[in-house]
Symmetry: C2
Amino acid sequence: MSEEPDGGLPESIELAWGLRERPGKGPKRALSLKGIIDAAVRIGSAEGLEAVSMSRVAAEAGASTMALYRYVPSKNALLSLMLDEVMGGPPRLPGPEEGWRAALSAWVWALRATMRRNPWLLRAPITGPPIMPNNVRWMEAGLRAMRGMGLDGGARISLIILLSNYVRSEVRMTHELATAFQEASTSESEVVRGYGAMLTALTDPGRFPELHAILEDGVFEGAVGTPDDDFVFGLETLLDGLEALVRRGGAPDA
Amino acid sequence: MSEEPDGGLPESIELAWGLRERPGKGPKRALSLKGIIDAAVRIGSAEGLEAVSMSRVAAEAGASTMALYRYVPSKNALLSLMLDEVMGGPPRLPGPEEGWRAALSAWVWALRATMRRNPWLLRAPITGPPIMPNNVRWMEAGLRAMRGMGLDGGARISLIILLSNYVRSEVRMTHELATAFQEASTSESEVVRGYGAMLTALTDPGRFPELHAILEDGVFEGAVGTPDDDFVFGLETLLDGLEALVRRGGAPDA
DNA sequence: CGTTACTGTGTATGGCATACGCGGTACTGC
DNA sequence: GCAGTACCGCGTATGCCATACACAGTAACG
């Protein structure tokens, strides 16, 4: 699974970084790694993550199932490569000279926009720390945005992970809600209303007083606003917290 | 998948809330829902989530594979039930009278402790809003801790989700790191060091100046502290942000 | 006491990732 | 030019999985 056949690195990582040399000994390759990844992404975009099987991808790429394994060591590796390609690199972002808050906020929003482009891929069972190329590029961009916060390296890394996870959770949850109402062929607010109705039916006010107070306020009945509202709420909370942190301990730079 | 056979609720949810009546017409049941769930949890605890298959669970419970389907509509439903049982209800927590920050912090720590008891289950592909019994109990407890913050219902719900996702991400990531070094049969700091070495090998300082500055600081080389440190960092940041929100005047709008 | 609804279970289906080995191909060194 | 060799695409096979379906046995109900 995680062999070290060449430079001491797992195969899928070397693939992603383009470190795999092809000595050109055998016949010409009929496919390309990028072509396979694109085919897989096409299927996932159209039919969801669960439709991405090796045979489906092979058919889409115009080859036999087993041919894929000449390019990719396993399906999980393919998923990782898909995720990294789909993420792309970070766009040009405002530098830290305009204030870290604006810079970091822009980074977070850009990351969210990127993830929202292929939210289904966030359901992939991918594991491990950021090591794929575009992932590392995003990390670099985030670190850059944090200049002037006076945080040490460890804190900055923690913060990258914290913010990434926040964005990831939000995008994934929003996407799942959207998927749910798509399957139920109702509107989004209908799904939310249904959720409120379930809660009302299942819980009694005696045991769940706080919840029922909220239910009676009609939280799940009115308009649900833009999905952005919740995202803004969480993000601004985080940034406010960071502001407090910086004010408390902030040396200008390390 | 999500039928409404009885009271207009999906079957797995009714099962979890114990709303399923058994008319007692046929032969006595040889198994019990709880017994099946426990067997499944036993397997997962011992061998990980991927070892939880219907046939393994059936063997552990002392029945044939198909017998399980008399108790549970699908494997996904079983996973949901497992998650809810394993979570349990929230413990007794300090009330909001000692200040919302202490109360909410205690809630978060308790949630983390609970999730850390069975972190492998967080990898299950479960979807949807909190609707299972213990899940709702945790929600109620969280809402209670937020009394006195002056937030409206929508904000409180958002906050529950925000904090839950934070805890979930942290526990899951920590668990994955632990699993990684368990598989590599090295120490945890060795895995972190290996990660740093990979980054150093794959990136050049020209393209990744910020990252390299951090790498040269030896962030991934020294002691990694308690895993609690990162958790505290994120949590306190969030709480500081909430403090700012509350001080500013609480509810953003209605 | 027959009817009926529910029980556990054996078998079958269709899908999946992937190990293995084959015949063919294009470059390498002579 | 020619063997050797390393790689190509792919057919086949293995073993796992969730689950649909049918069947025979069982216990309550009328």
